[in-house]
């Protein structure tokens, strides 16, 4: 993990560490079956105490994204990416899509026009 030690004061640090791992999984930087970076490496790299890193890793275990293999460390579960995508899709549909949809309606755009605009942007 790349150490960006800028933290957002509104969110607990363990949560921000969790979010960074999730982003790495969605981006495919961490694949299923890969080990998570070790607690002590992350603690030293990010200069946070090991208990904070442990708490972040435990929240990933609770979400079913990561499993603890005794004596070997933490690993990304098979199916973790699908689980994450499912959650993220639902979040988009519940939270972002209604707002975007409202804007589309207000501007009177139709589906063809939207797709054409998207295709033109692509390289």
């Amino acid at each position: 993990m790349k150490a960006d030690r800028e933290w957002n004061d509104g969110v607990p640090i363990y949560r921000q560490l969790r979010d960074r791992v999730v982003a790495m999984m969605l981006d495919g930087v961490l694949a299923e079956g890969d080990p998570l970076p070790s607690v002590r490496n992350v603690a030293a790299e990010y200069r946070v105490n090991p208990l904070t890193v442990m708490k972040a890793w435990e929240s990933l275990v609770d979400e079913g994204l990561v499993e603890m293999r005794r004596g070997r460390g933490m690993f990304i579960n098979a199916g973790a990416r699908a689980l994450l995508l499912k959650g993220e899709r639902q979040r988009f549909l519940d939270e972002e899509w209604p707002r975007i949809h409202e804007t589309i309606e207000r501007l009177g755009l139709d589906a063809d026009e939207l797709l054409r605009a998207r295709r033109r942007k692509k390289p």
């Binding site: 640090i13 607690v39 603690a43 200069r47 105490n49 090991p50």
Partner: protein, 296 residues
């Protein structure tokens, strides 16, 4: 964590006091440090940090009750020093000694010193075995000191102002060594400092000390759930003050208030809620007191 949590506290003090003539350096403090914690002992100069550490290390006699790893440090200093390692803020290594001779010496006097480990650490620095301490820069002396302490298999590591006057490369090495080594061996670390920002996320617990008294002792989890800072919306100032903030300051024309034990949802109606920095919390709890001003 790794099952290192022990029932007996590493440090336990009740009514710990120390006076030097008329001056009261420690005014009967109560302390408890459990195994596996990284504790930041934070206070301005002259607050009593070093006196407390000296008592814990058995370097000075004390009043009141004090147990370190279950023993009285003043009476049992020799046995205790097998389990306790210490880096002072003043370099105490003899100037004439060569690095290799120093390692010989520590290996001879300390039963828990792992010489190979110290040598591995030194290989990552520019310190060569033949060099004398007096030829080393201040930062290199600190590195040498750290190499020795990190190679001692201690249960308690005490650091007094470990980064004072040292450059960023050394600071990075120090925190890397502490955090990697710490996790591996589950030891307890007490770090006295007035440089709060640097250790803010590294510590698991904070102890604020001011004019010989404890102003706050809490885990970082407790700090996070107990204290919240709000950037108060101008129209909500009166409502905010009714909730009795423990501190108020101004930044970029906005009032920032610090609350203790006030419901987060309630605070969210006043403005943007954030976690306070340890430095701001320190100023709120200790104030810009007469004993040297706020830590920076």
């Amino acid at each position: 964590m790794t099952g290192v949590r022990d029932e007996t506290p590493v440090i336990e003090a009740r009514g710990l006091g120390k006076r030097f003539g008329e001056t009261i350096a420690l005014d009967g403090i109560d302390l408890r440090v459990d195994a596996g914690r990284i504790v930041g002992l934070i206070g301005p100069n002259g607050a009593g940090k070093t006196t407390a550490l000296n008592a814990i290390l058995g370097l000075i006699p004390h009043d009141g009750e004090l147990r370190v790893l279950g023993q009285d440090p003043w009476r049992a200093r020799d046995t205790l020093m097998r389990d306790v390692a210490f880096i002072a803020d003043v370099a105490v290594l003899p100037r004439w000694i060569r690095v290799s001779q120093l390692l010989d010496y520590v290996a001879a006097v300390h039963p828990r010193f792992d010489r190979a480990r110290a040598e591995t650490f030194l290989e990552r620095t520019s310190i060569r075995p033949r060099v004398k301490v007096k030829e080393l820069s201040k930062g290199m002396v600190a590195q040498l000191h750290l190499a020795i302490v990190m190679a001692i298999d201690a249960r308690l590591l005490v650091l007094d102002e470990p980064t004072l006057g040292l450059d960023i490369i050394y600071r990075k090495q120090l925190f890397d060594a502490l955090l990697e080594d710490y996790y591996e061996r589950g030891r307890t670390i007490v770090l006295a400092t007035h440089n709060v920002d640097e250790i803010e996320h590294v510590v698991t617990d904070v102890i604020f000390i001011d004019r010989g008294r404890i102003a706050l002792q809490a885990t970082m989890d407790e700090v996070e759930s107990r204290y919240r800072e709000v950037r108060v919306h101008p129209s909500r100032l009166t409502a905010a003050r009714e909730l009795v903030p423990i501190h108020e300051r101004e930044a970029l024309g906005q009032r920032i208030m610090l609350f203790e034990n006030v419901d987060a949802d309630r605070l969210a109606t006043l403005g943007e809620v954030r976690r306070p920095s340890v430095a701001d919390l320190f100023i709120a709890r200790v104030g810009n007191g007469a004993s040297g001003g706020p830590p920076r």
